[in-house]
Symmetry: C2
Subunit: 488 residues, 2 copies
């Protein structure tokens, strides 16, 4: 890769697209030169972090009783065709397999665009009685959709990396509780561990998952103020259980259909938000929990005087590794300045600088990636300090992000005011006629006139208009407050 | 699933196929009722173990300098066509994508049967100078091949789960050292951690990876004495680097092509060997390192007297979880006998039984899955003992497997003797004319007459025939000793 940039000063808010591309190549995260349109190659520095994101998410799913399973990548056309809305939603963008070697297959197979129709025929076999419920299964996988919008690594491509969790309950109430649990898991992983704040919205009826009763989706913001969707969870009701005969016999001997939910955190897209929320004009800033290298040690030696330093660096590395820190010594034949820039671009959370003078004082310099601060730390305190600083950094990154995000949630009560506010980015609360299907013309008009999307009602704040307020588009009495934004 | 069998007494050596199927369904490992031929659904109990196998393998790959990457599932036909032997080897079994939605694609895309032709065009972009070498990357993924042989879960299906590691070096010597490293990693993970012994063979020239100079593959045995291939590693030489222009400029300014290796441990197939090597007539026996539950606690209460027992069980669970053990309390309303059978079928390494009498004595009974032994352990010693017993069990399982395996490696010097010995299973060493292409007729004749496969020369023992011995088939002076067996 010859595109490495050791230093760059691009402001991510005013020039997000250039900033993002510079990071993608500078930190060697992805490569879009693969010769199938819409398909991206994800490189080790990004994958090593995303694997940790998978692990963090899977841990929470397992804690809440989900088991891992692997379902096939290919789905028979007849399975896909079973639920009418689902067909409408996904068939237009499915990659079809019709041939293997020289053999024409008996039936067309779809590369999974999502796995409901692969999983639910099996669920129908596995679920017979109430004692088989709840069934909670997740699958970490890729899905393929022939997207027509432009490819942007991690944000949108025709192949993306996600987790799907599909749960079945005996009652609607339990399935509703699962939707809330899904939201809590998102908060725990994405906000608390990765420092990305978001708001969960109940999507309008015209913008829900194909086949669901209701869709709840998290939205966050990119540095340019545009909205990007994060995980969504869907109350499927009994639409799929009836189509696939996922049923059980209750105590009275009656046949009952299951109540289902599905949940889809897209790991690659969450990573896009992590990059974008925390990065700065020097490069990536990675939360310590997912950084492939958490601490880089840079020995600063005068010519020919390096030996005791290297020895000391190794000692420190080993001591920190004993405590499960991921540590790397940069012993390349380059200047310290070059190395600092390089690891700052890559977003390594902590850097230990050690020169001869420090060696004499039995101390090192600890530099923090997010704030740029430097601390002098005695060697004997290092293990403890590293832990404290990593915790403080995680907290600081979230606080900074929360502050930035919250400042971009505004309100407006007229179309004109909405547009004016959204021209500065963010999400704006407006009075709106309804989330039911007859609100769709107002949403379409907003989209067409101003490229503004209605994101739905806030799930965590149930406030309702007073009855005096009117929809910003049609002027009818507003039944709901919705948030609107320009979508990524 | 209504196929659970709580107890069964099928001998795995004399009736392997029935035993294997009983385990697959009894322990809920996989389901072959998915409605695409050759595609298998892998269920949580198996996946939770295979995820740990992935982690163990990836850890060793990362320790030896490999970084993780994700390459696309779809490969353009033109990439596949670049290396002649590779085309021959894989194109006949490729799943082709020609359409997305209603759009006919400009070019056919193959679902990856293996990723050389997806990865190497990118390697050509990334490698420019000697300082970009070595390049060591692994990808944990699925591959798809339209196999014509019968599907057997974990052993063979049209979709399988594996890791591919693809490395590039400046010199042949370094690439040969990588092949040896690949073998050591296999030994470390599959034998030392999972207790499955194997032998690495250099495959005959007619049985190598399409496009490679040499193929080295591990073979182990199934309970019925048939051979099953485990990981293989391939010295690719410069065949692919020339086809894909993976080159660098050396110090003298000359263009040099890279020396490549690729390595493919199939996780699902290794799991098949783990099941088969260790299982017994009560069910699975899982090595502690990969068991989804390592310790199951079964409180044995008289009616209405369970409370103090349940409390104690929880205390023990929490104490063991503090030490990172995976523990489950079976509090179902079932008899202890039912529970014992159930967890024995699932292969949980250790069971803690606790009744009231034991509670009074501040002790529990610790039952070991592999040997069936029971130990009385004082509560205060439990954490220490569990660790000791798990280590001893891992060691015992390997020793038992090694003994069984080694006893099935034999020698013969004539065709007749070979057949007689192989009718009892195992692998048999024979004098053979040559591993070069002109030995192929002898191998084909062995296969046709006796369904026996030539597996190659042992990599770890370089012994050569004396000059007096003759090939068991053609009678010419034998240049090599090869091992032969009946392949799974």
């Amino acid at each position: 890769m010859q595109m490495k940039q050791r230093e760059f000063k691009i402001d991510k808010e005013t020039n997000f697209s250039e900033w993002y591309n510079t990071i993608i190549y500078g930190a060697e995260l992805a490569d879009i030169r693969y010769n199938v349109k819409g398909f991206v190659v994800f490189r080790p520095w990004a994958v090593a972090a995303m694997k940790r994101m998978y692990a963090a998410y899977e841990k929470e799913l397992e804690k809440t009783g989900h088991g891992p399973a692997w379902f096939p990548a290919l789905i028979p056309e007849k399975n896909l065709m079973k639920e009418a809305k689902h067909v409408e939603g996904f068939v237009p963008e499915v990659f079809w397999v019709e041939k293997a070697g020289e053999t024409k297959l008996e039936e067309r197979l779809a590369m999974r665009p999502t796995s409901e129709t692969a999983m639910y025929p099996m669920y129908a076999l596995w679920i017979q009685s109430a004692s088989d419920l709840p069934l909670k299964i997740y699958h970490s996988s890729q899905v393929w959709r022939h997207e027509t919008k432009a490819t942007k690594p991690f944000i949108r491509s025709r192949e993306f990396y996600w987790i799907e969790a599909h749960d079945v309950y005996a009652t609607r109430e339990e399935s509703e509780a699962q939707v809330r649990e899904d939201m809590q898991i998102a908060r725990k992983v994405i906000t608390q561990k990765l420092g990305v704040p978001f708001v969960f919205f109940q999507r309008p009826q015209w913008d829900k998952f194909p086949g669901a009763l209701h869709t709840f989706a998290a939205d966050t913001l990119m540095p340019d103020g545009k909205v990007i969707q994060q995980p969504s969870t869907h109350l499927l009701g009994q639409n799929f259980s009836k189509a696939f005969d996922i049923s059980f016999t209750d105590e009275k001997g009656n046949k009952q259909f299951g109540w289902q939910t599905c949940y889809g955190p897209a790991i690659s897209r969450i990573y896009a938000s992590v990059i974008s929320m925390h990065g700065d004009s020097k490069g990536l800033v990675l939360p310590p929990i997912i950084a492939p290298i958490q601490i880089v040690i840079v020995p600063i030696a005068r010519k020919g005087s390096g030996d005791p330093l290297v020895k000391k660096a190794l000692q420190i590395k080993e001591a920190l590794e004993q405590k499960d820190w991921r540590v790397h010594i940069d012993s390349r034949d380059k200047t310290p300045g070059f190395k600092f820039n390089d690891w700052e671009m890559k977003g390594v959370p902590m850097r230990i600088e050690m020169g001869e003078r420090e060696l004499e004082k039995l101390s090192v310099t600890l530099a923090l990636r997010d704030s740029g601060e430097k601390r002098t730390v005695l060697e004997k305190d290092l293990e403890k300090r590293v832990m404290q600083e990593a915790e403080a950094m995680t907290k600081r990154m979230l606080e900074k992000a929360e502050k930035w995000f919250t400042a971009r949630l505004n309100t407006a009560s007229t179309e004109k005011d909405l547009v004016k506010r959204l021209d500065k980015g963010g999400m704006v609360r407006i009075p709106f006629c309804t989330l039911e299907m007859n609100g769709m013309p107002c949403a379409e008009s907003l989209k067409k006139k101003h490229a503004i999307d209605v994101r739905g009602t806030r799930y965590d704040q149930k406030e309702k208009p007073s009855g005096k307020e009117t929809c910003v588009m049609c002027g009818k009495t507003a039944a709901v407050y919705v948030f609107a934004g320009r979508q990524y």
